[in-house]
């Protein structure tokens, strides 16, 4: 018997040709599975009670990436110091595990903002968490088993931060959404002139934008009838309306959707308006 290598080469070529498919480019922002909640973490606790609350939470906190419990936690009026350790097994067959450790510090006078996070798709416990952002732009993420634990931790950090003169802020609380400028491809697809509008990246859960039905990927083109050119202009217009004492602000939106007819679906862009009440959470 003889063999014929050409057949096998042809087989591989045919196989590769059959499997090749052209990926459809997706120009729209991804939909995040993590959920950010707009919480003010207001509390009337005195600093001593806030420190005691943090100490009581020691066994309920894990560092975000490592996912292991904290091995040390100390807190005073100036800051919080946390340390955690874990074992790493080297690649060698006879090597003993090596202990590694990491730590973070929350300097209360440097706290810039606090965000409550939920990680519904995290395949482990500790699906709630707190992101502490500092004045220099860095951040620390801590995970907790329950929303209640994360809220207590956030409230305690907020109390101690305010006691040290910091003023933790909420990101655009009057809208409750993260925005971005539109890319050229997004503008073209939506039929908008370049440099027009702002696209919603994600919504803060339970925030004003979510309450009126806004969605990620919605495009805000005007505030109270005035066209907006960038995310900053959206926030500035809303803040100006609030300062002027208006009870609400009307956003003109374009929503990308589909017209579904049987198995056929056609991308459409639907204009709509929504009214956002100008109340800060907790007002």
């Amino acid at each position: 018997m003889r063999s014929c290598p050409a057949f096998f080469v042809l087989s591989i070529v045919a196989l590769l040709a059959g499997c090749a498919t052209a990926p459809k480019p997706d120009i729209w922002p991804p939909i995040y599975s993590d959920e950010t909640y707009l919480e003010s973490f207001d509390s009337t606790w005195p600093p001593d009670e806030a420190m005691a609350t943090i100490r009581n939470l020691e066994t309920s906190l894990v560092e975000y990436s490592a996912g292991v419990p904290l091995s040390e936690l100390s807190v005073d009026q100036y800051g919080l110091r946390a340390r955690w350790t874990w074992l790493v097994k080297p690649s060698g067959p006879q090597s003993a595990p090596i202990q590694q450790s990491a730590s973070f510090i929350i300097a209360f006078d440097q706290v810039g903002s606090l965000l409550l996070e939920h990680y519904p798709n995290l395949n482990v416990d500790f699906r709630w968490g707190l992101i502490v952002r500092f004045a220099d732009g860095t951040a620390v993420s801590v995970r907790c088993p329950t929303r209640e634990a994360a809220m207590r931790f956030g409230s305690a950090v907020s109390v101690l931060a305010r006691a040290r003169g910091a003023e933790p802020s909420l990101p655009n609380p009057r809208l409750g959404a993260a925005l971005s400028a539109l890319s050229a491809a997004q503008s073209e697809a939506a039929g908008l002139a370049p440099g027009t509008g702002a696209i919603v990246l994600w919504l803060f859960r339970e925030g004003p934008a979510e309450k009126v039905g806004l969605s990620p990927q919605d495009i805000i083109v005007a505030v109270d009838g005035e066209k907006v050119a960038a995310p900053d202009a959206v926030f500035a217009s809303i803040e100006a309306a609030a300062t002027a004492g208006k009870p609400e602000v009307v956003l003109s939106i374009i929503r990308r959707s589909y017209r579904v007819e049987g198995l056929r679906h056609t991308e459409i862009f639907v204009p709509m308006t929504v009214a956002i009440a100008l109340e800060k959470p907790g007002d």
Partner: protein
């Protein structure tokens, strides 16, 4: 009075138009965002997509010139394997390998077909009906076969095809297929005594096959 009636009519008409416009204006709750649809489309697409690797057993039936020189259903081991893919209802593509192996006492007869599948796939819910054809290359090898000796022939083949896939869930399908092809061969041997060199170049085949397929 006449003016009042006109005014009332105008107000009523204006109110009706305003109400109609308000009823037609889109509200967020009435317009499903594209990404919600896209997740739904992706799930439906995944559920209805045929993208399988398959393996099965063939029952070949040969006719015309070369049928006496190759094995049949009882001639040995007859296998089919390949990959086939189609979207929920649409064009079908794939590649198929067939091997008909007949190992007798002191001789061997091998038919190997390497074909590209094409056609259209109909999504019938619990099953998929694929209609189309196949084209490719065939290969016959005789090893010490009486009246032939050692010889090899290469051919081109083309024919219609029909297959049915039944979804068993859990990424497993049962399939059955029937296809007919006509093949013409050229000898690759120098002896000049094999049937293809002597002018018997055609092989018609009807092949029924069945097996299992696994979703990729």
């Amino acid at each position: 009075m006449h003016m009042k009636r006109k005014l009332a009519l105008f107000i009523a008409l204006t109110a009706a138009l305003a109400l109609r416009a308000a009823a037609q204006s889109a509200a967020p709750a009435n317009v499903t965002p594209a990404w919600v649809y896209e997740r739904q489309f992706a799930k439906e697409e995944e559920a209805r997509r045929l993208n399988v690797a398959y393996l099965g057993y063939c029952l070949p039936s040969f006719s015309s010139d070369l049928s006496g020189y190759v094995g049949g259903p009882g001639g040995g081991l007859n296998f089919s394997a390949g990959f086939e893919s189609a979207q929920r209802g649409g064009s079908l593509g794939g590649v198929d390998f067939e091997l008909f192996l007949d190992l007798g006492e002191g001789y061997s007869r091998i038919v190997f077909n390497d074909t590209v599948l094409f056609g259209y796939s109909f999504d019938l819910g619990f099953c998929r009906l694929n209609l189309g054809g196949r084209a490719g290359l065939g290969f016959i090898d005789w090893g010490a076969y009486p009246s032939v000796g050692d010889a090899t022939a290469i051919g081109a083949l083309l024919g219609p095809e029909l297959s049915l896939y039944v979804d068993l869930g859990q990424k497993v399908w049962l399939w059955g297929r029937g296809h007919y092809y006509k093949a013409f061969y050229l000898s690759l041997s120098d002896s000049g005594s094999d049937p293809v060199s002597l002018g018997e170049t055609e092989l018609d085949s009807f092949i029924a096959a069945f097996g299992v397929a696994f979703r990729q």
